[in-house]
């Protein structure tokens, strides 16, 4: 298998979501794509999937600046999730922030693999796919 089954995008910017979806298709990154427009929506949606024992996404692309529940808050909540399945999910932070404090803060979250600066490119996705299929 050389592509991701389900990929999840959490971002409030419709243009970014459009672009990312397009690139995912372009590089044939994932079979299906889940989109949530903020942290709270994502948390609710993922919990629902979990309870229903439906498949969870393998990869999450997470924005930091979002209304209601931002990226950090989502990560804090997600850490508390007791489901073993959730632990397997690899999270990528995708943000416009070049604030060094944000880059430093990411290190506190084990489940976050990399911090990717917007805009996301086909190259970024190809690299991610490479590491995932390798493992």
């Amino acid at each position: 298998m050389n592509k991701v089954q389900t990929c999840c995008i959490i971002d409030d910017d419709p243009i970014f979501v459009y672009g990312t979806k397009r690139i995912i298709k372009e590089v044939d990154f994932a079979t299906s794509i889940l989109v949530y427009s903020n942290g709270q929506e994502a948390l609710d949606g993922l919990t629902k999937l979990c309870m229903a024992r439906e498949p969870l996404p393998e990869v999450i692309f997470l924005d930091l600046n979002m209304p209601i529940l931002n990226g950090w808050e989502f990560l804090d909540e997600f850490k508390n999730c007791k489901s073993k399945r959730s632990k397997k999910i690899i999270i990528y932070i995708i943000s416009s922030s070049v604030d060094p404090r944000d880059l430093e803060r990411v290190k506190n979250y084990e489940q976050v693999d990399t911090y990717i600066l917007k805009p996301i490119t086909p190259n970024d996705l190809a690299k991610i796919l490479g590491t995932i299929t390798e493992n």
């Binding site: 243009i15 970014f16 459009y18 672009g19 600046n65 209304p67 209601i68 416009s96 922030s97």
Partner: protein, 731 residues
């Protein structure tokens, strides 16, 4: 036998002699006998001896009775007591006689009264005993030694002890003493030289005793035949003498070591006597010293001379002992300071006859005194005029002396300070540290400790000072007082505080600027990256519908970008130079103005509005900002109203010190502050699913409040409502 000649001789004999027959009747007697021993001055021939004899001891009677029976008897001296209690010595010799020997049977009796001689002898012995002077005799012919009783007593030997010459010599202590007496005795024998010496003997009881032995030589035909002499116990006297000698020697050493010169002045002979130290102190050659008073007085400095000579005269007259300090001029021209004291000695009639005294060099002491005097003056001067506060305090921290600078710093006069302890005006928070500092200085004697503490100025203000203390010890090593330096750093501390406050402001401003820069960068980047991405798609996209879609999105991104830039512009506007535009504005007027302008919105929602703002409440504010703030807060209250309730808004104001606190309370959706508390006033933070939520309003509001030196805070409960508090400077 009875011849005339013999009879005559007998009669005229100078001795008392009696010739008796066996019945003790006188045959014949000398005139001396009748004169001295017979009570009967008539003819006593043929009368019994004992009929007319004076009182005699019974021993004599026995001797006489035995004598006529043929037994010779000699007594060289018999002491006995007469009935009247007087003592008498008799000496006798009784020679028996028979017809065959001398032509008669009986005895010849010699009797002699030796009372006078014996008494003298006894007296002599007594005198010997009392004076502890014994006699000794060395007969060089018979080579015998004879000691009197006292001599034996001194040697502590038994009364019957008879020494040989060698034994006598061996009583002298081995070593120099024995060697000396051996030499003297042999010299006396050989050369006929008398001697007189003081030596130590070791008595029979092993006691060491000082004795004086004198010896004279008897010469016969140019040859020594006898040594006689006295032997005296001088132990006590000698020991006193030796002790005196030792003390004198010790005194000499002491005065020498202490460099004290001593002198005697014989007022009768007018003669001055100095010891070696005196010559040294006065730098005068011993051999050129004239012994006149002038020899001393000529050295005295002219300035002191009159005073010193007057004091000397008083001392000579015995009016007052000399006790003066004066300077003398030495040969080499230098000056020396002398301290001199004297005692005047008087004879039994109270006439002053001698003076004795001591002098010593106090030049060094004097210069030390001068030095001390000068440094005291210097210290006093420094103390008084020092720019630094200075004080003397007791070990109990009572002020003892304070200089001008200190009284200026503390606001109390010196007089007021002296009634207080340093602790009385110490800041209470600094008392424990002050106490431990005091211990270190007073008990441990730390000399270079500095300590920063706070005092209260008389006017109640805090005075900051750095204290430096030097403990001063008395001769017993106890701290007598402490010299304290007091560096007033109040101005410095105040400046530092202002600086720190300024740094804090700058720091927070810098922080907020950094945040702002990142916000700006983030917002601009998100739009620009979208545009980059979309442009790339557009280049590749062939499908016309999709191209239109992308174009639409690019337009939207561009619009968002310019909107963001407009927001940023607003924020920057707020951040720059608000303080200069501050005016005194009525809160109530502004509130009324705003509520009027959104009256339509309020009525649309049937809003209940309660305004509780006194007319008198004015704040320092920029009018446009205050309007903008009120508008934003009120529209938020409406925007995030509860769907369950009609809006209920209450606006209040109250005075808090220099500030006025304005509050806007609503009964809207509320916000989870546990979650969003720290980001509530952040840029582009939105917390509600509201179509108009942009996350810019409260951010700008906060910046506007802060640019007017105010603060903004929030209290809220989800589904109950929110209260916004705005604090501004009162005017």
């Amino acid at each position: 036998m009875k011849t005339l000649a013999v009879d005559f001789l007998l009669k005229e004999s100078p001795n008392a002699i009696a010739i008796v027959d066996t019945k003790l009747n006188f045959i014949s007697h000398s005139n001396q006998w009748q004169e001295k021993f017979s009570l009967d001055k008539t003819d006593i021939i043929n009368k019994n001896l004992f009929d007319s004899i004076i009182e005699t001891p019974s021993l004599f009677k026995i001797a006489v009775n035995e004598g006529v029976k043929g037994k010779e008897h000699i007594n060289l001296g018999q002491k006995f007591t007469l009935p009247d209690g007087k003592l008498q010595w008799l000496k006798w010799k009784i020679i028996p006689s028979t017809i065959q020997d001398h032509g008669f049977d009986g005895a010849i009796i010699f009797l002699d009264d030796i009372t006078a001689v014996q008494k003298e002898l006894e007296l002599l012995h007594k005198a010997e005993e009392v004076a502890r002077i014994g006699c000794w005799e060395l007969d060089l012919i018979s080579n015998t030694v004879n000691w009197t009783k006292t001599t034996k007593d001194i040697h502590e030997v038994e009364p019957d002890f008879i020494p040989s010459l060698e034994e006598g010599i061996n009583f002298y202590k081995e070593g120099v003493y024995r060697d000396k007496i051996s030499y003297l005795v042999s010299n006396a024998i050989a050369e006929g030289k008398p001697f007189d010496t003081e030596l130590i003997i070791v008595t029979a009881k092993k006691n060491e005793v000082w004795v004086r032995a004198k010896g004279e030589v008897e010469i016969l035909n140019g040859k020594a035949v006898r040594l006689i002499g006295t032997f005296q116990d001088i132990d006590e006297k000698k020991k006193i003498e030796l002790a005196h000698e030792e003390i004198s020697e010790r005194l000499k050493i002491t005065t020498q070591t202490a460099q004290i010169g001593t002198w005697h002045y014989d007022l009768v002979e007018n003669e001055l006597e100095w010891d070696n130290e005196m010559y040294r102190i006065f730098d005068i050659d011993k051999n050129q010293f004239s012994k006149a008073l002038e020899a001393w007085s000529s050295t005295i400095d002219p300035n002191d001379k009159e005073r010193i000579l007057a004091a000397t005269n008083d001392a000579i007259k015995g009016l007052k002992d000399f006790d003066e300090e004066y300077s003398i001029n030495l040969k080499n021209g230098s000056t020396r300071f002398i301290k001199g004291i004297s005692k005047t000695i008087r004879d039994i009639n109270g006439q002053p006859i001698k003076m004795t005294g001591a002098n010593w060099d106090i030049t060094e002491l004097r210069s030390t005194e001068f030095e001390l005097d000068r440094s005291t003056k210097l210290f006093t001067e420094t103390f008084e005029h020092s720019a630094v506060g200075m004080a003397l305090v007791s070990p109990e921290l009572q002020w003892l002396k304070a200089n001008k600078s200190l009284t200026h710093s503390l606001g109390y006069s010196e007089e007021e300070l002296l009634k207080m302890s340093s602790m009385d005006i110490t800041h209470p928070d600094d008392l424990p540290r002050s106490n431990s500092y005091k211990k270190k200085v007073v008990n441990d004697g730390n000399e270079n400790l500095q300590f920063q503490k706070r005092y209260f100025h008389k006017n109640g203000n805090i005075v900051h000072a750095i204290i430096g203390s030097t403990p001063v010890k008395d001769l017993n090593g106890k701290v007598s007082h402490i010299i304290t330096q007091f560096l007033d750093i109040t101005d410095r501390i105040e400046a530092q505080k202002k600086l720190e406050a300024l740094v804090d402001v700058t720091k927070s401003q810098n922080e907020s600027l950094t945040n702002f820069a990142h916000i700006v960068s983030h917002n601009l980047r998100s739009h620009s990256s979208n545009m980059t991405m979309l442009t790339k798609f557009l280049n590749k996209e062939e499908d016309e519908d999709e191209r239109k879609n992308i174009n639409r999105m690019i337009t939207s991104a561009t619009e968002s970008l310019s909107e963001t830039i407009a927001h940023l512009n607003d924020v920057v506007q707020v951040k720059t130079g608000a303080l200069e535009k501050l005016q005194s504005i009525s809160i109530l007027n502004t509130v009324n103005q705003i509520t009027r302008s959104i009256n339509g919105l309020l009525e649309e929602q049937n809003t209940k509005l309660k305004i509780d703002v006194p007319k008198s409440h004015f704040v320092h504010a920029v009018p446009a900002y205050l309007e903008s703030i009120f508008l934003n807060v009120l529209t938020n209250a409406l925007k995030y109203r509860s769907t369950q309730r009609t809006p209920d808004i209450e606006i209040k104001s109250k005075i808090i010190g220099e500030d006025i606190l304005i509050s806007f309370a609503d009964n809207g959706q509320g916000i989870d502050l546990n979650r969003h508390g720290n980001t509530i006033f952040g840029m582009y933070k939105t917390f509600h699913k509201h179509k108009d939520a942009k996350g810019i309003g409260l951010f700008i509001t906060k910046n506007q409040v802060e640019s007017m030196s105010g603060t903004i805070s929030i209290e809220s409960k989800v589904d109950e409502g929110t209260t916004i508090f705005i604090k501004l400077k009162r005017s």
